[in-house]
């Protein structure tokens, strides 16, 4: 394979080599407009409907890992060196349907059919990874695919049946993928550094360049807001940012680690955090979005920051000058403004090992359980020593222009037994702590009410959550 600067990948078994006129072209644009594979649809161009879902295989630790992704907010350049499978690529050479397709036909899983290729691909990713196909797992896998016709029943039923068909032989693409080398670097509009040193140099030279991790935020600037970005620096090809280290001191998460990579680890350590993470975006978003990106964007409604703030997390900010560590809670200065200096980027997040008997709660409140942005996210961590609350940290998202601690509420409760009076006082303090947002997701009043409700929950013995409680039908 020649070492040129084209974007090279495997598309339904064929190596393709593209140098797009627009280096910021999305994968969906390429697939529909250039490759004329029109099975993959556009339903929203913002990662929310799943109509553009396709499966991308990437070599990780010597084998290909397949994941469902939204093509509408993915740059073509991001899939350099990957295997892309679209709905057109599933049938066997003899034209035989793949089991997921067969099952969808037999269970009447399509009506208008527009969402169907997206569902096929989400199910295919599930099938390819041989993940459990109980209802709950399938619902998690499919919550990022909207269907307005079927009510989902037949699609879930198809998922439950898909392992019952003869398993097709999938071609092994590892060898071919390994032949693809080089980077997808284009001209000044798109860089794809492979080391931190290169990244630091680029940032010195192009301080206004947009860093691009998963692109689940930044992708919308192109697809929805039609922005012209002068240059983009992809972070996805830098192994130094792509690490998880779980040691004595705590958990170190590289900036480009995707939700999907750490969700299980986090859920093991802190079930409440795992549950919130499971509800961030959809499977497709979690397969692409990074924790670094979630923090870097400084959003007041990002889900990770409040949780990490209560866990006393630190950020490692790196630049050509070196690394500086700051408290995550000090990173957010004001709306749209963070403590990130020119030339700096987030290198990693560090969550110190918490005290052994720490109590940690986090709840995400939104109009819809899955795939929705929080109206309010409340996170709480404390220890209880002889009935008294110690080391209490409370942080909220959606309650201010930045994710922030509720200092006054913390004061009202610290050292108390979290009796009704103290909690009531803390609730009063919350009002002074925050000026909640007021928008189409929720009114300021509701946010305030819910913030108080969550604070109450945090000190109950067995707090309930409809999002997590499994319904046992007696």
């Amino acid at each position: 394979m020649v070492e040129d600067n084209s974007i090279r990948f495997l598309l339904n078994g064929q190596i393709v080599c593209v140098t797009p006129d627009d280096p910021h072209m999305s994968l969906l644009q390429y697939i529909r407009e250039q490759a004329a594979l029109c099975g993959t649809k556009e339903g929203c161009a913002e990662g929310d409907c799943g109509a553009c879902t396709l499966v991308v295989g990437k070599i990780i630790d010597g084998e290909i890992k397949y994941r469902a992704l939204n093509a509408c907010i993915l740059l073509l350049a991001q899939i350099h060196g990957c295997e892309v499978i679209t709905v057109e690529g599933l049938q066997g050479e003899d034209g035989a349907l793949h089991p997921v397709q067969q099952a969808l036909v037999e269970f009447h899983g399509s009506q208008c059919g527009f969402c169907t290729p997206g569902f096929v691909m989400s199910l295919y990713a599930h099938y390819r990874n041989q993940l459990p196909n109980d209802r709950q797992s399938l619902k998690i896998a499919l919550a990022g695919n909207l269907c307005r016709c079927t009510g989902y029943g037949p699609i879930i039923a198809a998922g439950q049946a898909m392992y019952g068909y003869p398993k097709p032989v999938e071609p092994d693409s590892l060898k071919i993928l390994q032949t693809i080398t080089g980077t997808p670097q284009q001209d000044e509009r798109l860089f794809a550094p492979t080391t931190e040193t290169d990244l630091q140099e680029l940032l010195q030279k192009y301080p206004d360049a947009v860093l691009w991790a998963g692109g689940t935020d930044a992708g919308l600037w192109l697809s929805k807001h039609l922005q012209d970005i002068s240059s983009i620096i992809l972070l996805g090809n830098i192994p130094e940012l792509d690490f998880i280290r779980d040691d004595e001191s705590g958990l170190h998460i590289g900036a480009t680690i995707r939700y999907a990579d750490v969700i299980e680890l986090c859920a093991d350590k802190w079930p409440a955090m795992g549950e919130v993470m499971r509800r961030i975006g959809s499977t497709q978003i979690r397969n692409s979005g990074t924790i670094g990106g979630n923090i870097a964007n400084g959003s007041p409604i990002g889900d990770m920051a409040p949780m990490l703030i209560t866990m006393d997390a630190r950020l490692n900010l790196a630049s050509a000058e070196g690394i500086r560590e700051i408290l995550l809670e000090n990173y957010f200065l004001e709306y749209g403004k963070q403590d990130l200096r020119p030339g700096e980027y987030i290198h990693s997040i560090f969550i110190p090992k918490p005290a052994r008997d720490i109590i940690f709660h986090a709840w995400k409140i939104s109009k819809r359980f899955d795939q929705d942005i929080s109206a309010v996210l409340g996170a709480f961590s404390y220890e209880r020593k002889k009935g008294r609350i110690n080391n209490l940290r409370i942080a909220y998202g959606g309650m201010a222009a930045i994710p922030r601690r509720a200092f006054l509420a913390e004061q009202a409760l610290e050292g108390t037994c979290a009796d009704d009076t103290s909690i009531a006082q803390a609730c009063q303090a919350l009002i002074r702590d925050f000026t909640p947002l007021d928008d189409m997701r929720a009114s300021a009043k509701y946010r305030e009410q819910v913030a108080k409700a969550l604070l109450n929950k945090a000190f109950q013995d067995n707090p309930v959550s409809l999002a997590t409680d499994k319904y046992q039908y007696e």
């Binding site: 029109c38 527009f114 399938l138 269907c147 109009k367 189409m440 319904y471």
Partner: protein
């Protein structure tokens, strides 16, 4: 003439299922693009109500890649894309009447360029007072038409003399269709001023006529085609014309093919939604909970233009009785004009709002009289003697009492209701609720003349059959159902019938595929066409083989008659050689329906579709979050044409209705700008919202009525309203949490915020 293997009644898969799952099904945006095609985007108003003082489009025109820009003054014909009233301009002229209204269209070499350029217009407005809700419209007396009154008996008198009165209010929100495929059309110019338009529309004939008006051209110059839509739900009934007309205008002006595909935000901001309603009621009841008399007030936000609002609001009135006999009733219906995008058809067409109101009344009566809401409902059902609707139609063959009784058993409603009540007592943090609500939905367009349909059928010499009719396929399974009907007439497998795209030059002057009547009307038209051909074939056999009509059997691809047997293909070839026409049209007009809109009396419906659902829900009383835990549905589609398709419609309709009543909230800011204009902010149900316990069954109807194909019943809209049980159950859970202090109202949608606000209400 008994056919052995019948297609009708079989749970056949959707005719495009294979194409859907392989990505081969072509939607408008997937068709190969003609060379040189232009891509379009609308320029939209950024004010809800304003005079346009100046519109400078030079920056738009000069943007690299832009070919042309057109606005109102470029229209040769009429600047109108309304279905009838003449108040929906294609492009605003001197005044804008809603935020997002089309001002001009840009044609460019790519969609991205067109959309970017469209944002560069510099427009100066003089802001006018904008009416953004019903209260403001009432204050300004801004109405589409006079208040309509439907009444029977004497409600006032009944209320004055009653000992028990219940009264209250209920608001239901708007809803976006959120079809997965957004609005789109491609217009291709041809010779002699002809234009072919491929449109994602439920109403090709209206798109054709509308374009003819805009271009000042005869309808025979315009052909509109649609193979399939990626969902419609009423949103592509009148709304598709705006998009198609703009594309046709550009194609006509430039002589180049033009495609207009609305981006999701544009689609949601520019096209109509379900009407938001504000309603109130006052009912007199006896000790048994029976309604003696009732007054209902329905007010709707129709948005900026007439569109189909009169008929939609009429249908709300038609369904304010739902399954109940209301001998003394006055329904007042006000239709308000506001400065929002014009509200339009959406599955149920006003019916859901009217039905929500009477179901609320039932819950209120039950609470007041301390009865099981189900008992109150049952006591008020129509019955043999009490069977006249407020509009004077008799309710025949009323399936609901029996159907509900069966559902009560299969869902174990009574035991569960008790268990829930007990469970709730032991719970501080969560509460559950359960409710059973019925649906009776009138089938037929209430505008009588719309109840007509045409089909065109060709049999080729090889025995293959090409089927065409005026109905459009949007996922509801119309094509397979009609093909099943035709296949049975010829004794063929359904695979022998080829569905061809709905096209105005094959079947003219069609009605919209709407009002759930697609298969009733088009199925009948195709049945008639098929029988015309079959009659000819039978006569041919009779003339050659000297037998009688009833000795001829069409079955399993063969035709048998005394002394002979041949394949359908052989018969087709024989007919061809005998110079017999193998092509026929079919035409059907629903008999025996009429309606006088002046008095609101008549027999507007051919029959009623019925069903019922039990929903059980749970709420978190601290946060207002809720979840549907279990759903049991029993629904009648008469003798179903295709039970698999029908089940799909029922479950899909239910979940869509559940979305309307729970998570789907349409919000505007105080300037009249839609703030929920994309799936990031507008939340339709996901797979995770579907309860695991979801039992759907078809009611085994014993009635031979209605006079439809095989006594089947329409299924498109009615199941949507089964979801009212969810809302009713949520209200019940809240009421339990409030220990039935007083009657708990709950508006729709029941978002966590709205639920919490009721829980905390003083």
């Amino acid at each position: 003439m008994s056919e052995s293997v019948k297609n009708v009644g079989q749970p056949m898969e959707h005719d495009s299922a294979l194409a859907h799952v392989t990505g081969q099904a072509l939607y408008v945006d997937d068709l190969a693009e003609p060379a040189d095609m232009l891509h379009l985007a609308f320029g939209r108003s950024t004010q809800a109500h304003a005079k346009i003082l100046s519109m400078d489009l030079s920056k738009v025109r000069d943007f690299p890649g832009v070919t042309a820009v057109f606005c109102a003054k470029d229209i040769t014909g009429k600047n109108d894309v309304s279905p009838m009233a003449g108040d929906d301009p294609l492009f605003a002229e001197d005044t804008v009447i809603y935020h997002g209204q089309a001002l001009f269209v840009v044609a460019a070499s790519s969609q991205r360029i067109a959309r970017k350029a469209a944002r560069l217009a510099s427009i100066t407005y003089q802001e006018l007072p904008a009416i953004l809700d019903i209260a403001a419209a009432r204050h300004a007396n801004s109405r589409l038409e006079d208040t309509q009154i439907m009444s029977a008996g004497n409600a006032r008198e009944a209320i004055l003399s009653a000992s028990h009165i219940v009264s209250g209010c209920l608001n239901t929100g708007a809803q976006d269709h959120f079809y997965l495929e957004g609005q789109i059309a491609v217009a291709i110019p041809g010779e002699a001023q002809r234009i072919k338009v491929i449109s994602s529309t439920q109403h090709p004939s209206e798109v054709q006529a509308g374009i003819a008006h805009v271009l000042a051209r005869a309808s025979n110059k315009i052909t509109v085609e649609v193979r399939r839509m990626g969902g419609g739900f009423g949103g592509k009934e009148t709304q598709a014309l705006l998009i198609a007309a703009a594309a046709a205008l550009v194609a006509d002006k430039t002589g180049r093919a033009a495609k207009l595909r609305l981006d999701r935000d544009d689609d949601m901001a520019m096209t109509g939604k379900r009407h938001g309603f504000e309603m109130s009621y006052r009912a007199a009841v006896d000790e048994q909970g029976k309604i003696l008399g009732i007054e209902m007030d329905l007010a709707s936000d129709c948005g900026c233009s007439t569109d189909l609002s009169p008929a939609i609001n009429d249908r709300a009135m038609f369904h304010a009785d739902n399954a109940y006999f209301l001998p003394n009733i006055t329904i007042r219906s006000e239709r308000f004009r506001t400065n929002k995008v014009s509200a339009t058809a959406f599955r149920g067409f006003g019916g859901p709002q009217g039905m929500m109101l009477i179901e609320r009344v039932m819950d209120h009566i039950a609470s007041e009289m301390k009865l099981d809401p189900l008992t109150v409902r049952q006591r008020n059902f129509y019955s043999k003697d009490n069977n006249i609707t407020p509009y004077g139609q008799q309710v025949h063959d009323f399936e609901i009492p029996e159907l509900v009784e069966e559902l009560v058993k299969t869902s174990d409603y009574k035991t569960r209701r008790q268990q829930i009540s007990k469970w709730n007592q032991g719970q501080q943090l969560k509460k559950r609720g359960i409710s059973l609500t019925p649906v009776k939905f009138g089938i037929s367009f209430t505008t009588t003349f719309l109840n007509q349909a045409g089909a065109l059928l060709h049999v080729y010499r090889d025995g293959s059959v090409a089927l065409n009719h005026g109905g459009t396929e949007m996922g509801q399974g119309l094509f397979i159902k009609v093909a099943q009907i035709v296949a049975d007439v010829f004794g063929l497998p359904v695979t022998a019938i080829e569905n061809s795209p709905t096209t105005t030059d094959k079947v003219p002057n069609t009605s919209a595929t709407a009002a759930s009547s697609g298969s009733d009307l088009n199925g009948m038209a195709a049945y008639i066409a098929a029988n015309t051909i079959r009659d000819r074939l039978e006569e041919l056999i009779i003339s050659k083989h000297n037998c009688t009509k009833d000795q001829i059997v069409f079955a399993d691809g063969h035709i048998c008659f005394p002394g002979g047997k041949m394949t359908f293909a052989e018969l087709a070839e024989l007919a061809y050689l005998s110079r017999i026409s193998l092509s026929s049209t079919g035409f059907y007009a629903t008999p025996d329906i009429f309606y006088d809109r002046k008095t609101h009396k008549g027999k507007p419906f051919l029959y009623y579709a019925c069903g019922a659902a039990v929903s059980e829900v749970e709420i978190d009383i601290a946060t207002g979050e809720s979840r549907v835990l279990r759903v049991d549905i029993l629904h009648s589609t008469g003798k179903p044409l295709n039970p698999a398709i029908d089940l799909g419609q029922i479950e899909g309709g239910f979940i869509q209705g559940m979305g309307w009543l729970t998570s789907e909230e349409i919000c505007f800011d105080d300037k009249g700008k839609l703030t929920t204009h994309a799936p990031s902010t507008y939340k339709i149900p996901t797979a995770a919202d579907r309860p695991d316990y979801f039992n759907t069954a078809l009611f085994n109807s014993k009635y031979e009525e209605p006079k439809t194909i095989g006594s089947s019943k329409a299924v498109g809209e009615p199941p949507f309203m089964l979801a009212i049980s969810v809302h009713s159950a949520l209200r019940a859970a809240i009421a339990d949490a409030r220990q039935h202090k007083d009657f708990t109202p709950l508006n729709a949608p029941a978002t966590p915020q709205n639920i919490l606000s009721e829980l905390l209400a003083k």
